[in-house]
Symmetry: C2
Subunit: 343 residues, 2 copies
DNA sequence: ACGTGCTAATGAAACGATTCAAAAGCACGA
DNA sequence: TCGTGCTTTTGAATCGTTTCATTAGCACGT
């Protein structure tokens, strides 16, 4: 009953040709006369032949597959990045397979191993911790690697990332432009480089502006609940000490702050407090007051990462490139200028 | 400079043993004396040898990889399902590679092809449209397939899904138990089998209960904004005609309804209207009023899917099984009983 | 010295597709 | 008839690993 899989040999026998001819039908159809081609194709269909990729790869020495290791597929940033990478790869005849490290270094290592054993064309890695040595080893064995959402300070490989300092600057500059002067930055104790960068950008914007002050408020975590606590604390202050602009290190925090400010304390957004977040998650557009935010060029990042990788696959001689994108301001109701807006 | 990759032959030469011995070190270490083992291991490390999976697979005839094709990695349901599947596969020495069809049939077909060419051990598919013929073809070629989040009416393969009728019943039953009688179901025109099933369950619960009435309100889409419109329409009714319980076909709708009911019309949840959603997305727990919901046993589903697949891989003789899980009620503030709660 | 019973190591064959030098087939002109 | 220049087809060699029948090596008892 359970017969062994159909090979190119079986197809050749049935069509009455040599194996080389079948291979040519599959890979160089122009070399084969149309009558033979049709006979072979008929045999392929009749037998349900499916090419054995292992054998093909073994001979070819490399595959048409790109490995992508992400921190968390549940995070919308990574899922749309993956989508974009897949599209771009498909246009170039490659396929992306995804490995989710779940921020776990062991798991990350496992996927890197598996992909290397599979002889993928190259890897895109958004690393958990320090993948320096790892990447170094891959490169000595000739495996192209591009880092995603992280630069490589030692320039061992190309990378695609976002300038979070610019993003922080952009957000606070936007608040200042809307006439706000007493700015609060909400973030966690800056273990994450990302948060630290955003704060640095915020500082820079405030320092450029006479009369503006920046206060840093620390949240327990980067979640809605933590944001609600922070918002609660802020909104309880006496009227005269209220900030008029709040920049949160991500959208979840901002949504929490919004809930507290609006619901618990009855203040108005943006009239009393203008509010801006970071990441532009889907939810932000449909918050009670649509939330302004700072968006990473996710799609562009995914495409660029694949392009850099392909570049390196084609010509390994090419030098490493660190591509850093600027984020984009997304202006919504939570910071809309209110003076003269009706006019 | 760019030397060809290190093969088992190179390792054998350096260690001064035969290739078969190196292979034994890798696959059957017990068969090799410890002194030889160490010498070979040393050569492996020194040369940076990485096993060529293509060659291994070619010989073995099958891989240790499971292909998972999902509708949308951005959807938390699928990302946690994938996570669970990966864990379960890892425990059994396999690796899951993920393909995101993005609800696109072509893309889905491409991933299925790629996985079949890669001779994966088996596939888990959450299908876009009608994959019947597709699955049929795979099966005749001996490829194990398990459907996810969908049953196979023709029982051509095993499947893992959720009983949405039971989920709908559960949600409305919960509202009834909390003393609500005028129930509204919010959903889209039921193209999705899932939504239709949830409504059917809701109907059933209401019919079992004397004096309870069910009204169906149609939303434009399954989004927060569409929910807000619906909530707006409901809350504008004269007090006497207000429902006292609302069941939304997903959490996004429910959050929209909540925003409209609370913010625009100043009604209270759950005092005036008890509200329950479906899916239990992360956001629900941190809504202004924490949202009750119906949760699918995502992790269990992922594990079970892998288990069914492995079962079929081991013994192809095993009959197909349709596993249907019951969803779980998650009770939060939006439906909390208010009478006597303080006591 | 020789057989017995081990364990350890060997190396050729096999997996299935691709490649490529060589052969075959064919048309045409000399 | 033969050579020339073309297109089409052939099939052996190759990729790197695993398997397995065989051989080698060694200790022990007779």
């Amino acid at each position: 009953m359970e017969s062994r899989p159909v090979s190119i040999k079986d197809v050749a026998d049935r069509a009455g040709v040599a194996v080389g001819t079948v291979s040519n039908v599959l890979n160089h159809p122009a070399r084969v006369s149309s009558v033979t081609r049709e006979r072979v194709q008929g045999a392929i269909d009749a037998l349900g032949f499916v090419r054995n990729d292992a054998a093909r790869q073994l001979r070819a020495g490399q595959s048409r597959t790109i490995g992508l290791v992400v921190l968390d597929v549940g995070n919308p940033f990574f899922s749309s990045l993956a989508r974009a990478a897949e599209d771009c790869a498909a246009e170039n005849g490659s396929t992306v397979v995804l490995g989710d490290s779940g921020q776990d270094a062991d798991r990350e290592a496992r996927y890197i191993d598996v992909f290397e054993q599979q002889r993928v064309q190259g890897m895109l890695i958004s690393p958990v911790g320090d993948v320096g040595p790892r990447v170094e080893a891959l490169r000595t064995r000739g495996m192209p690697v591009v880092l995603v959402d992280r630069t490589d300070a030692q320039r061992r490989c190309s990378s695609v990332s976002v300038d979070d300092v610019a993003g922080g600057y952009m957000a606070v500059r936007h608040l200042l432009d809307a006439g706000r002067r007493r700015i609060v930055f909400v973030g966690t104790r800056a273990d994450y480089r990302q948060v630290a960068d955003r704060l640095a950008g915020a500082r820079q914007a405030v320092e450029e502006h006479d009369g503006a002050v920046l206060e840093v408020v620390e949240a327990e975590a980067m979640t809605v609940l933590a944001g609600r606590d922070v918002g609660d604390g802020i909104a309880q202050r006496p009227r005269g000490e209220l900030p008029d602009g709040v920049f949160c290190a991500n959208d979840l925090l901002a949504i929490g702050v919004m809930q507290a400010v609006l619901m618990i304390h009855g203040l108005r957004i943006p009239e009393d407090i203008a509010l801006i977040g970071y990441d532009d998650i889907d939810f932000s557009a449909s918050a009670v007051v649509p939330l302004s935010s700072v968006r990473k060029p996710t799609t562009l990042m995914g495409r660029t990462a694949v392009e850099l990788l392909l570049e390196e696959i084609e010509g390994p001689a090419s030098r490493r490139r660190q591509v850093i994108f600027d984020p984009e301001l997304v202006e919504r109701g939570s910071t809309r200028a209110v003076v003269g807006a009706v006019g």
